[in-house]
Symmetry: D3
Amino acid sequence: MTLTPLPRVMVEPLVRAALLEDLGRAGDLTTDAIVPADATATMVLATRQPGVIAGIDVATLAFELIDPRVDVAIIHPDGAAIPAGDVIATVRGPARALLTAERTALNLLCHLSGIATQTAAVVDAVRDHKAKIVCTRKTTPGLRALEKYAVRAGGGANHRFGLDDAVLIKDNHIAIAGDVRTAIERARTRAGHMVKIEVEVDTLEQLDIALAAGADAVLLDNMSVEQLSQAVAMVGGRAITEASGRVTAQAARAIAATGVDLISVGWITHSAPILDIGLDCR
Amino acid sequence: MTLTPLPRVMVEPLVRAALLEDLGRAGDLTTDAIVPADATATMVLATRQPGVIAGIDVATLAFELIDPRVDVAIIHPDGAAIPAGDVIATVRGPARALLTAERTALNLLCHLSGIATQTAAVVDAVRDHKAKIVCTRKTTPGLRALEKYAVRAGGGANHRFGLDDAVLIKDNHIAIAGDVRTAIERARTRAGHMVKIEVEVDTLEQLDIALAAGADAVLLDNMSVEQLSQAVAMVGGRAITEASGRVTAQAARAIAATGVDLISVGWITHSAPILDIGLDCR
Amino acid sequence: MTLTPLPRVMVEPLVRAALLEDLGRAGDLTTDAIVPADATATMVLATRQPGVIAGIDVATLAFELIDPRVDVAIIHPDGAAIPAGDVIATVRGPARALLTAERTALNLLCHLSGIATQTAAVVDAVRDHKAKIVCTRKTTPGLRALEKYAVRAGGGANHRFGLDDAVLIKDNHIAIAGDVRTAIERARTRAGHMVKIEVEVDTLEQLDIALAAGADAVLLDNMSVEQLSQAVAMVGGRAITEASGRVTAQAARAIAATGVDLISVGWITHSAPILDIGLDCR
Amino acid sequence: MTLTPLPRVMVEPLVRAALLEDLGRAGDLTTDAIVPADATATMVLATRQPGVIAGIDVATLAFELIDPRVDVAIIHPDGAAIPAGDVIATVRGPARALLTAERTALNLLCHLSGIATQTAAVVDAVRDHKAKIVCTRKTTPGLRALEKYAVRAGGGANHRFGLDDAVLIKDNHIAIAGDVRTAIERARTRAGHMVKIEVEVDTLEQLDIALAAGADAVLLDNMSVEQLSQAVAMVGGRAITEASGRVTAQAARAIAATGVDLISVGWITHSAPILDIGLDCR
Amino acid sequence: MTLTPLPRVMVEPLVRAALLEDLGRAGDLTTDAIVPADATATMVLATRQPGVIAGIDVATLAFELIDPRVDVAIIHPDGAAIPAGDVIATVRGPARALLTAERTALNLLCHLSGIATQTAAVVDAVRDHKAKIVCTRKTTPGLRALEKYAVRAGGGANHRFGLDDAVLIKDNHIAIAGDVRTAIERARTRAGHMVKIEVEVDTLEQLDIALAAGADAVLLDNMSVEQLSQAVAMVGGRAITEASGRVTAQAARAIAATGVDLISVGWITHSAPILDIGLDCR
Amino acid sequence: MTLTPLPRVMVEPLVRAALLEDLGRAGDLTTDAIVPADATATMVLATRQPGVIAGIDVATLAFELIDPRVDVAIIHPDGAAIPAGDVIATVRGPARALLTAERTALNLLCHLSGIATQTAAVVDAVRDHKAKIVCTRKTTPGLRALEKYAVRAGGGANHRFGLDDAVLIKDNHIAIAGDVRTAIERARTRAGHMVKIEVEVDTLEQLDIALAAGADAVLLDNMSVEQLSQAVAMVGGRAITEASGRVTAQAARAIAATGVDLISVGWITHSAPILDIGLDCR
């Protein structure tokens, strides 16, 4: 499956803001003092752990925005799974630019690659089943588009991107509406025709009502593997089935075996440790 | 030690951007369809794990920016260490506002509390020693001020905030300058009088040169506990000593016992899992 | 059906920008020179044509951002259909603020009410049929969220809000993919599970293929009423049917009679004349 | 008369914002899924109605900001009056970029060309007279500079651009000042020496006072053709004369024959339907 | 003459940016460490030199944006001429807020009051003549609206605010056009009817041509007092006369005596020293 | 000593904003009307006074952002001290671009060169002593990074850049803390290890306490030359000594002779007159 890079018009404002956050008002005191203006360098972005790469285009942009003379030759594009010690890209240009942009480029690349790597681990765990691994809206403020992209780089799929591109009826909505049926009917009446409706259900009784009310998808929250199997059987293809609830890579396999269509995993975006990548002299 | 909240003028732009990222162009489809405009609700922000709170003011702002009628009564302020199940704050107001702001508020609160919690664990590990735990510039782009604040909420201290508020001479700088002494001298000549100079040293030989050249602080990178003890002895109070290099909470104790002044830990900002906090009906 | 106002956090940046565009660098030369600072006034926003109101909250915000002492008492909220000469709201406060904010408030209110009014006319024409009137992405740059809201105020519904919240396969996509089936299959494989897929078809043959390939919705473009009837029959409820192609209010009735689910109309957003509303002394 | 394009520094922020409004957080789902990354295409921007072009540079920028490899060869520049079916420009480049930027480019181009076309119709109606057709401040929020430019492209002229570049005393100002003379005197005393003063008058009595008070221009509002003729005679060249009040193209000719210097027309900016232009495969 | 404050919507973005520029990423280290959160203080803004005040509203906003509990009681509003040692305003509230906002508030207040003070000195020098003192476009980038306001606070008037609100034909334009007459005619043909045309002339020959071509105003650049007298006589009221060219307060009196309408002075905006104002405990 | 230019990513937003402030909504009326689109010109930026240059890169960017075809050939880079009449750079390109960008380019260049020139005068006055001349936070809002850069261009050094990169304890802090020792201890406890602490002292008694409490630097405020000599002797190298208090170039020499390390001068940023530089045809 191909991975489409985000258009530069979408990521450039974020990379500019990240550089300015690090440069502050005085710029790179250390590099400006120590590194001659005409020094050039060739360095490599290399993994220190095995993992899946995401964000190399964004990191490249960080270098280029500091100095357009920097040349980044990408060896492993986003989505590549590589071992520890592999070179992702070679970075050549004015030494000052390399050192000044280094931390911003790495902060983006390591964070996004961390998400891609964790995603890939869960995706791999369910590789013998049809279930897709999807992320949630539990993302870092300001980075949602990039983090959702990193999930795709890791082989996962995206759930909705915000409050406005799909209906997801949760327990609190149901509590206020009074019951599952009322909630779905209100949503059906008011949502646009291109908007799908998913309902969180905690029990098989709720599931029955949700199906009868015509939900496009059902979120089977915190159910046991047995309950999930029953739920999948009960749905019988009438709706998309999604399992959720603190799913580890290990747990994912058993869940996938129940036949659910999707397993949503919040921690791949909100709690993924970085992938350790360094900018090294070679 | 008191914890000073960041001025609203600093955090409001970020919270506004986070809300807009979630609202998109159509707003909260689900809540607008299902929840009556005049419904009110009282909910609680409660921990699902023990941890240290950071970001409750920011979360409060998320609710208030959606609807100024929301009232957030804070029970445990930032910096509080609380058990699982405790109520951090009660949130009362229009039900729509509570549900629409929920995810943004939680994304901020859980992320920052995760950092505070991990920081507190490392701080606790070294509690019998003088060493302070400090964070690095390995932060999430756009969130540096808040993440550094979360470190303080966890009892840690902050290293420099950017490239522009202190000199930190790393191996790449030394390589380009030719040697440690030259690098320090160039920095000394050009840095302002309020700017301290720290030098990364990998060996005791480099340390000796750095001390002779008058470094204010030395970053003892990836040294063994034995090397650290020797280094601390060699420094003899002439410079601030900082140990670094993938320090776990367990390792921190032994490192602190060497007598170093500081232990810098990158992962408390770049790889801290969230603290699980929910917005629940009570 | 209730109409949910957009959260202030979404519209305030736009209203601020509109005010600044009119104030320029010197502010309101005329009012500042002529109107005493302590003069107060009571004026009314009144229609000069019958129509449907949209944007009164946004107009109110324009007045309040110039001076928070302005009080706007809304008589006819957004969505109200009123005759010519009716008072929408009474505006009281410092005379300078009323005159300085007037044009910005009216530009927003008249533009959005124009869209609501045209939408309502088409909605009314199809009132005996199930067809919904939906808008397109043919909106004024910068105003999409507000213009889509105005369509809702006029009783219409919204099609997708951008390139990113639904798949809509058009003739150019099909041409590049080679055929309708391939295009749908590629989209099915890559789109998220909450994303619906609509396909533009120009002939009944294409429609047949699209249905077989499992399109969620079909856009029947520029078909005659006879073709539309045949198409609706052929679909038989297997997909949502949408008619499009320069639909006037008059034409809409006959189209709706064919039984299509939706009629999309571009001109209600891109070519609606304003609803003439004035700020008058009373 | 030549038409000067707006500097890129003025229009680029608006085009970027328009693209981001359409791309949202996930980009172009349809094109990314269906169109291969290496597909190229050649398409044309062609009119589907006769009209006057405005905005081709802005549309070009939309394509280039999505992908700098897109090449737009302009055949008919802004200001050109062309028949239906004519090619305005040829657009070559990566097929994805063409399809992703299409709607944003067209929304700008069709909207601005619509204004230019309507302006040209009114300008043409008065071609045998000296009267200039001028636009007002009744523009779409955020687009004033571009819409005023489109009026110039259609052969019209611009009235003031905001509240801050000229004095225009309206009935509400006069009502608060007490009388026309007082209003003009206050403005004369306080306005800068480069600022002209125009006064709205509804009667010939008011006109007499305005002329005696030294108004630079008089806005003859909603007067009949007979009144306008009298007014022009009364002015006798002592001030610029401007007629206003819902002027259709047909009415403009008779108004122009009265000898007024200017006819201001609000609807050419606030209610012009788009000029239908498509991006077609050829 | 009354002085109208700029609307808050115009100045708030600038004050926010100024505060953020000073707060950086960590906020006020000194105050946060030393001043208890609950300490309150009463301080005064007091002059250390005689001068004219401008910017007290802007300074007030700086305090309020840091903490809305700060109360600023203004004693001398903008435009007041006061002796050294006088209290401009009393500032009461949380001590932290007072100290944190102090520098930003003072930087704005002292800079703008410096401009007002220098303007007032030149205005005073010509008080026996009709000549107005006007400022130029030689302002500090980002501050034009505020600096032009400060000139008004000092009793001066404003020349054009930018390239877009009046025509000012300078020597370089004339050189490219070929001659004065051609330049004026081109401007007359293309400028809007509310736009005045001023021409810079260096000799009486050029002046003669400019008057014949119908210039609204003439800029008599770097002429001697004798030349100015001749020029004023030659103009005979047919155009506004403006003298310019490094005019000191002393020189202004003799220039004003020639009968020119305006004397433009660049240095009151580009080179005015600040008015020394302090925030003191009382 | 070399002078490092600020990265383009830091200055471009400011230059764009400055251009837009001058272009307004209609652009350069005069140039667009008079100068043919295809006219080219070669002009020079030349001093009209002797001085030190700062801002030539920023001025170049102003021209390039209006039209990338403009070529600026720099003869005297930032930091150069040159006589009146010298050519700083040759500017070639479309005549319209040169005239449209002229004022923005000059406003930046003249302002920054004014600061550099005044700084250089004070630096020169103390050339026989070790004392460095440093600037303060008394800068123009929005321009701090550039103004601090201009001080460096003039041979000066920078004090802290904001409230967040160093601790500077002033009289108001001490008053609230109760005494100097308490203030320093609170700061020491809470400030980061890379943050230096400076204390303002008015008397030798306070100095004694500050030294005992371990201040890194002492600000000797408004002391006489005799007091300064005593203070330097008392310090004996234990802390950095800084003299401050309305220091003219003449006074600086005597102050420097006391042996202080630093002399801080506010007026070089807040009250420096511009360096007069013009854009001339040659």
